[in-house]
């Protein structure tokens, strides 16, 4: 271990800076005659003029370019070194059949709008499924991984949705500009909720979060000047395809249809929105899968398992819990932004408690902490009521019966087995 560290720590920051300074000096020496000075034709004779800003830019580029190059080379070398040593120690991979099922589902979700391009209903329903998948993954961080029972998750969804609605209608921000801001705002609200509830667990935490969700909704209903009250906010700008709006015709410039020489069709936007949420959801999945293997992810699970033991091991449980709240809320905020952009109209009615309950049901039904379980559960919870439309008012009864059956059959959720995030190679499981 010591020799390994000695080898990798030989290149320090000061050394890199020195090296880059040397390069910059050479750049100055070469640059003065080549860039700093140039000849100009001044009325028939040649004059020497100076271009100091150019030289400065050149030297700065050389300096930072060298730093970046050195850094990249160091990273590459270190990576190769660690890779050589990783032979014996490896990171866990999920069960193979699950992996293939995941790839299969991914392929299916990629071709779905093409296969059903004439069926707007299918693509719309699939988009709804994906919104719930994303919400489920966000709540999974808080409930499944960190074990903090949150019954007010819809509040963060609302924060995201209203952020986009207000920023776009009041200040003309577009979807991509709002996305990070709304995520940050939702994360801030997550911390605001997390802070006073740090010492609560289980039922007590559930009650406070339930109240928080209601507070946000009641504020949105009553603060009419701010949120439009029960009337909500309408005519929210729809996301455009890299600046190309989905409209029959546009006053200023091309539309999506005219740019690609297509006949205008309202399905274009539906399909685009589907792919948009698919990308957001996939990024969310990657993000969480990665976080789970990082110390923060392990810490979330450790806090779920035993908070006292975490403290005894020197872990700052406050920070661990707040980070779970913040990241879960941020993902809910992203989903909210997408929801507002898709609907074009939002009102407090979209953010009632039953939404929180549905998202929680998705997490619990999928199996706490399981990413894949959330996908299956979200599909079930959205598609089952849709399939039961023929039974009109009896469909919620059927839906409830189906839920009970699943919980009897699989009490720990559909995928209850936990995959370890780290595995010692050469030792059987």
């Amino acid at each position: 271990m010591t020799t390994f560290q000695a080898r990798t720590h030989t290149v320090t920051l000061t050394e890199r800076l020195k090296d880059a300074t040397n390069v910059a000096l050479i750049a100055i020496l070469l640059g003065i005659p080549m860039i700093g000075l140039h000849t100009v034709d001044a009325g028939g004779k040649l004059m020497v003029a100076t271009r100091w800003p150019w030289l400065l830019a050149f030297v700065a580029t050389m300096f930072f370019g060298r730093l970046a190059l050195q850094f990249a080379i160091d990273q590459f070398k270190l990576k190769r070194l660690t890779r050589q040593r990783t032979r014996t120690l490896e990171v866990a991979t999920p069960r193979p059949w699950l992996k293939w099922l995941g790839y299969g589902l991914l392929g299916f979700s990629l071709v779905l709008p093409i296969a059903f391009s004439d069926n707007r209903y299918v693509v719309d329903t699939a988009t709804t499924v994906l919104i719930y998948v994303m919400l489920g993954w966000g709540l999974n961080v808080v409930v499944g991984l960190a074990g903090l029972l949150d019954l007010g998750y819809v509040a963060f969804y609302a924060v995201g949705a209203y952020s986009y609605a207000l920023l776009s209608t009041q200040f003309g921000w577009n979807f991509w500009e709002t996305l990070p801001v709304a995520g940050a705002l939702a994360a801030l609200f997550g911390i605001l909720l997390g802070w006073p509830t740090l010492r609560l667990r289980g039922d007590y935490l559930a009650i406070v979060t339930l109240g928080f969700g209601e507070i946000i909704r009641v504020i949105l209903i009553n603060w009419t000047e701010f949120s439009g009250g029960p009337n909500g906010i309408g005519s929210i700008e729809r996301p455009s395809f890299f600046g190309l709006p989905f409209k029959p015709d546009s006053d200023d410039g091309a539309t999506f249809a005219s740019f690609f020489g297509l006949e205008y069709a309202s399905e274009h936007r539906v399909i685009f929105l589907y792919y948009l949420i698919l990308v957001l959801a996939l990024l969310t999945n990657l993000f969480i899968a990665r976080l789970r293997k990082l110390p923060v992810g392990l810490a979330w699970e450790a806090v779920r398992e035993d908070e006292v033991a975490c403290k005894a091991l020197g872990m700052n449980v406050t920070n661990v819990k707040l980070s779970a709240f913040a990241i879960g809320a941020m993902l809910g905020g992203f989903a909210g932004v997408f929801f507002a952009a898709r609907q074009g109209f939002i009102s407090p009615e979209s953010f009632v408690f039953s939404e929180s309950a549905t998202i929680l049901a998705i997490v619990v039904l999928g199996g706490m902490g399981s990413q894949f379980g959330v996908v299956i559960a979200a599909s079930l919870l959205v598609i089952l009521p849709e399939l039961g439309r023929d039974f009109s008012e009896y469909r919620m009864l059927l839906f409830g019966a189906a839920m009970i059956l699943i919980m009897v059959w699989k009490p720990g959720g559909l995928i209850s087995r936990r995959e370890p995030s780290k595995v010692l190679a050469g030792v059987e499981k």
């Binding site: 006292v308 936990r418 010692l424």
Partner: protein, 278 residues
């Protein structure tokens, strides 16, 4: 308390009251690094309360607990939250009723114990998310440390098993291995031999001696199993109803009439081992 400088941990006039009950009464004690100090006494004597005061889980009513840390200087543990006691003062404890992370594997338990070092290396997850080599390297080092203790404590073969499924004795070993991954200077073990069979407790003896002699770790031990206490302790402190009634080497304690009285009245202390292990 002889020489101030030689003590790793200095407990002065520690008193802990819960309402009208005095769980620890004016206790002073010096703990040396690289030595095994045992705290014994009948049930309800205040031993676990003493550990809770040391490790920040309880705030003592009066008195002080000073850790003479080679890097961070003198630290007053009674003023620190429990996570800083482990992180900064390097005093780590185990629990009487085992507190593992039951759904996580043995290896994961040991990696979680290295959270602070790893979190620092991952730069609040940024370096980790980007997969930078500096983080990967720290992660490797954490795996190596975990593997080292797994091998030493003969847990390597079950590294990928969830700890909740393991036998009681093995869970005790995992808890000790996990505490060791925090790199403690002083490790406080609350009844590590409880529930172990004779062979396992003999192995525990070897481990405790190995930790103090080879790794120069200070060990504090709460234990009822006199086979362990008398064989390995360098120093024994006897508590009864929150008062320190005796202190000294195992020989001195075994022959101390106060101790014999506190435990059984007239009998020899060796005969009491089985009855007291509860």
């Amino acid at each position: 308390m002889s020489n101030q400088q030689s003590h790793l941990l200095e407990v002065k006039n520690l008193t802990m009251r819960f309402g009208g009950l005095t769980a620890i009464n004016d206790l002073s004690l010096g703990i040396e690094g690289g030595k095994i100090t045992s705290i014994i006494g009948p049930n309800g004597a205040g031993k676990t309360t003493f550990f809770n005061c040391l490790t920040g889980f309880y705030k003592p009513t009066t008195g002080s607990v000073q850790m003479n840390h080679p890097e961070h200087g003198a630290l007053l543990l009674e003023k620190m939250p429990s996570h800083l006691v482990a992180r900064k003062a390097s005093v780590v404890r185990t629990f009487q009723n085992i507190r593992l992370f039951p759904n996580m594997t043995v290896l994961e338990n040991l990696i979680v114990a290295q959270h602070n070092a790893l979190q620092k290396a991952s730069h609040f997850s940024l370096a980790g998310l980007l997969g930078l080599a500096s983080y990967r390297q720290a992660s490797e080092a954490a795996m190596e440390k975990a593997e080292m203790w797994l091998t030493r404590l003969k847990l390597r073969d079950i590294a990928n098993m969830p700890t909740g499924n393991l036998s009681y004795g093995t869970q005790r070993r995992v808890e000790i291995a996990r505490a060791l991954c925090v790199d403690p200077l002083l490790i406080c073990l609350d009844e590590p031999a409880a529930g172990l069979n004779p062979r396992e407790s003999a192995e525990l003896n070897d481990l405790l001696l190995y930790l103090t002699r080879e790794h120069h770790k200070g060990v504090m031990l709460i234990e009822h199993d006199m086979n362990v206490v008398m064989k390995v302790s360098d120093h024994i402190c006897v508590l009864n109803f929150g008062n320190k009634i005796a202190e000294g080497t195992p020989e001195q304690i075994q022959n101390n009439p106060e101790v014999i009285k506190a435990y059984l009245g007239e009998e020899e202390i060796e005969d009491t081992t089985e009855e007291e292990a509860a």
